[in-house]
């Protein structure tokens, strides 16, 4: 008798103290344990693909390591080996933005852009930190959907959408008398004429790059009979019309192209794909360009990043070879050779919950966009791990209409202001910020935001809402196991 009463009392007490256990589900948060689920990986040394770890073909490991080092190089305006920063930039190092949970990843917990002025990367006399950057918020890139007109109003007949670099080099030694103002971030914010993008992680990017278009097209056709309201399309490369795949809107075709663009757009470093210092979108629109006294600040001539015809001799020929290509080639090689994250089979919530969660993810229709596995890649002429391999990215690489709640009013290639690439979910378990603008750290919010007027995912989100809390918890555990 007594025992039973005690048990009842304890149960009631537990229900009173931990109501969440009984009736609601929570995002388990960033998964602890090995980085990318891989023993041996650290915050500064992500693992390469298995064949590269075995240095097959010979030299691939040297290239990977050289690329990893270059991805972390800190760039300055002029002088030294790593120069060319600016005249406008968002940060001075690829790995500053791509670092969670390891080099190559996404936004870290401590936002490096917030400390740019404090750390002397930009001068506080010529720059202010815009209010959308906070110390623990996501690392961001800003775009203005529309140009301002001469009255200072956003002009909806003049779409912009290009990256508005946050900082200027003016006031730094090396910048000479180049005096540039930052774009009007405060008024852009008060007029709703600004949107943000956070870094997409690049683990496994080489596999995505090596999928043949026909594989993607077959997946699209297989989904054509779905009863979920979903019908996506592809973004295409403007040069040859093949399917493009990188970036939040699948706006870019290849890792080399993205590297060249990122080096110029994020850091202001000209290279063999993008050979001119980049003016702001408005400086381009208005025809003014960059003032002459802001050009060639590195005094090296253009492009600032170039092939190294002469390199130091090294007893290890592979190490010597790896010094030859320009930075963008090595950035691309590093990213291409990065291993995809390894999901945990037990954490969080245990193996049974994760397995149920994965089945639920598929059953309610998440996987109709977030295709668990694309199989398989083309044969690879680079390294065996990239060839004829499954791609467990949880994405169909299609762009989908995501509704008014997510629309950013930026058009890129064939993608309109409300269309986004199905975000690959591999590595999600150790991500901090979610959705293209990093608006949330909570997976439940990320899921809820899939439904709004005009979204293809509204039915599926409704299916999620109709699950029991323990089913929802299984699904969240599964997502955090990735």
């Amino acid at each position: 008798m007594k025992k039973i009463r005690l048990a009842v009392f304890l149960a009631l007490a537990a229900a009173a103290f931990f109501p969440s256990i009984a009736c609601s589900q929570t995002d388990p948060g960033v998964r602890s344990g090995p980085i990318n689920g891989q023993s041996g990986a650290t915050a500064t040394s992500p693992l390469p693909l298995a064949s590269v770890a075995a240095n097959s073909p010979t030299g691939s490991l040297e290239f990977f390591q050289n690329g990893l080092a270059r991805f972390q190089e800190v760039e300055v305006v002029s002088g030294g080996a790593n120069n060319g920063l600016g005249p406008r930039f968002n940060f001075n190092q690829c790995s500053g933005c791509h670092s969670q949970p390891s080099i190559g990843g996404s936004s870290p917990a401590a936002n490096p852009e917030f400390s740019v002025i404090a750390n002397g990367i930009a001068s506080g006399s010529t720059n202010t930190t815009p209010s959308f950057l906070t110390s623990t918020g996501p690392t961001r890139e800003a775009r203005f959907p529309f140009f301002f007109n001469s009255n200072g109003n956003p002009n909806t007949n003049a779409p912009n959408g290009g990256v508005e670099d946050i900082f200027v080099v003016s006031g730094l030694s090396g910048a000479g008398n180049c005096s540039l103002p930052q774009p009007s971030f405060a008024i852009a914010q008060s007029t709703n004429n600004i949107i943000f993008r956070i870094p997409t992680p690049v683990f496994g990017a080489g596999l995505i790059e090596n999928i043949d278009d026909s594989t993607l097209i077959a997946v699209q056709a297989a989904a054509a009979g779905n009863s979920l309201g979903i019908s996506g399309t592809f973004n295409h490369n403007g040069n040859d019309g093949t399917i493009s795949r990188f970036g939040w809107k699948a706006q870019n075709k290849s890792l080399l192209l993205f590297s060249g663009e990122a080096y110029n757009v994020e850091m202001g470093i000209t290279n063999e794909i993008f050979g001119q210092d980049r003016p702001l979108p408005g400086e381009d629109q208005q025809g003014s360009g960059l003032p002459a006294n802001c050009l060639n600040l590195s005094k090296t001539g253009y492009p600032e990043d170039a092939t190294n015809f002469t390199v130091a001799t090294n007893a290890d020929p592979a190490a010597q070879n790896a010094q030859v290509p320009s930075d963008i080639v090595l950035f691309a090689e590093f990213m291409r050779l990065l291993a995809p994250p390894t999901p945990s089979t037990t954490t969080p919530g245990g193996a049974a919950s994760i397995t149920r969660g994965q089945s639920l993810f598929s059953a309610i229709g998440c996987a109709t966009c977030h295709t668990a596995t694309l199989s398989s890649t083309q044969p690879s002429n680079i390294t065996s791990s990239l060839g004829s391999a499954p791609v467990g990215a949880f994405s169909d690489i299609e762009i989908h209409h995501m509704g008014t709640g997510l629309a950013d009013n930026v058009s890129q290639g064939g993608a309109g202001g409300d269309q986004f690439r199905t975000a690959p979910l591999w590595g999600l378990g150790q991500r901090i910020f979610f959705l293209h603008d990093g608006r949330t750290t909570n997976l439940l919010t990320a899921i809820a935001d899939h439904s709004s007027n005009g979204s293809e995912a509204t039915e599926v989100e409704e299916n999620f809402a109709s699950l029991s809390s323990s089913q929802k918890q299984d699904l969240l555990n599964f997502l955090r196991s990735l």
């Binding site: 959408g161 056709a221 054509a224 639920l360 993608a415 309109g416 809402a465």
Partner: protein, 341 residues
């Protein structure tokens, strides 16, 4: 005089310098409004939660001819003039969010119906009304019946089929019905589809509660549909034009003029046209096109002349589909000839 700078010339020179100075000052100092800059503290705010920059989208050559995506819920009835469909919603059900625009493979989310706040039932559920244009489907299917079979064939292993595609009658019209169930999610999908104007039109009921779904399906008896509706019929006629797949093939075209595109794009541009009894294009519906593409195609189609379609010796209006731009690369063998008389 030679080599000697006159006083006035010197002044002129200095004045030019001064002007240059102010210009330089302006370029380097506080920016004017324009481009990336605004100095207007009272600048107009843009609306939020609005899609202002559209990519490829739907549009039409006129504002009166009904369009598949033009249906609306009003006074608790979903009405769609294009499909000749009126579907009274069950009490306490409503539309919360509108769907996406038509896709470039001819898929429409017509309405997404949910329990309203006044709903007192214990379990939730949802009703999706969708359509697939059979001219543009990526699936090798020529009728609503075949498309539902395709759905069944492509269900993944997580689902259990409870009722394979089966002919049923709803409101006096033939439908095909497919029921399936996800044991892990404990969710049921009951799909009822018919064909109207060469589109598969479907009602998808989803819930954990099959009783709720059965009641909703019972309520479908109040639906009104055009006489042509049927699981393997539905090729127009009556008040609507006849629909004929690939009518715009060479032997039916007397005159054609290809659109001149000004921008290089790679999207597929599915277009539905209605050809009048004289063989002229009287209506164009772009399911998914950029404005410049729609303009170029409109200009070109104005020049097209078709052989009028004769039925029992009488010329009749015909509706057909054409894909401009880059047609999708089909994964499967091309669809079997869909609907032709």
């Amino acid at each position: 005089m030679q080599g000697k700078i006159t006083r006035s010339a010197l002044w002129r020179f200095l004045a030019v310098l001064a002007i240059h100075g102010t210009l330089l000052g302006a370029a380097q100092g506080a920016p004017q409004s324009g481009g990336d800059y605004s100095t207007n503290p009272d600048a107009k705010k843009l609306p939020t939660e609005t899609i202002l920059v559209k990519g490829a989208w739907s549009s039409a050559s006129d504002a009166v001819t009904p369009l598949p995506e033009g249906g609306r819920v009003s006074r608790n009835v979903y009405n769609n003039a294009y499909f000749g469909l009126a579907y009274p919603l069950s009490p306490d059900w409503t539309e919360k969010y509108s769907g996406p625009p038509p896709s470039d493979s001819g898929y429409y989310v017509l309405a997404q119906i949910r329990p309203a706040d006044t709903f007192t039932g214990e379990t939730r559920g949802s009703i999706l009304i969708a359509a697939q244009d059979l001219f543009f489907t990526l699936a090798p299917a020529g009728s609503a019946f075949e498309l539902i079979n395709y759905t069944r064939d492509h269900l993944n292993a997580d689902y259990k089929v409870e009722r394979p595609p089966t002919p049923v009658t709803v409101a006096g019209r033939s439908f095909v019905r497919l029921d399936y169930f996800s044991p892990v999610a404990e969710l049921h999908w009951h799909v009822l589809a018919t064909q109207i104007r060469c589109h598969m039109v479907q009602f998808v009921f989803t819930s954990r509660d099959t009783k709720l779904i059965e009641n909703l399906i019972q309520d479908m008896s109040a639906i009104s549909l055009p006489p042509e509706a049927g699981a393997i019929a539905g090729t127009g006629g009556g008040d609507a034009p006849l629909c004929i797949k690939d009518y715009a093939r060479d032997e039916n075209i007397i005159e054609r003029n290809d659109p001149v595109f000004t921008e290089r794009r790679f999207n597929s541009v599915p277009v539905r046209i209605i050809i009048d009894k004289e063989g002229k294009v009287k209506h164009i519906h772009f399911l998914s096109a950029f404005p410049d593409q729609a303009k170029a195609i409109t200009d070109a189609l104005a020049e097209w002349r078709f052989r009028p379609y004769l039925r029992n010796g009488q010329a009749v209006e015909v509706e057909t589909g054409i894909i401009f731009g880059h047609p999708p690369r089909l994964a499967a063998p091309p669809p079997s000839p869909a609907v032709s008389e």
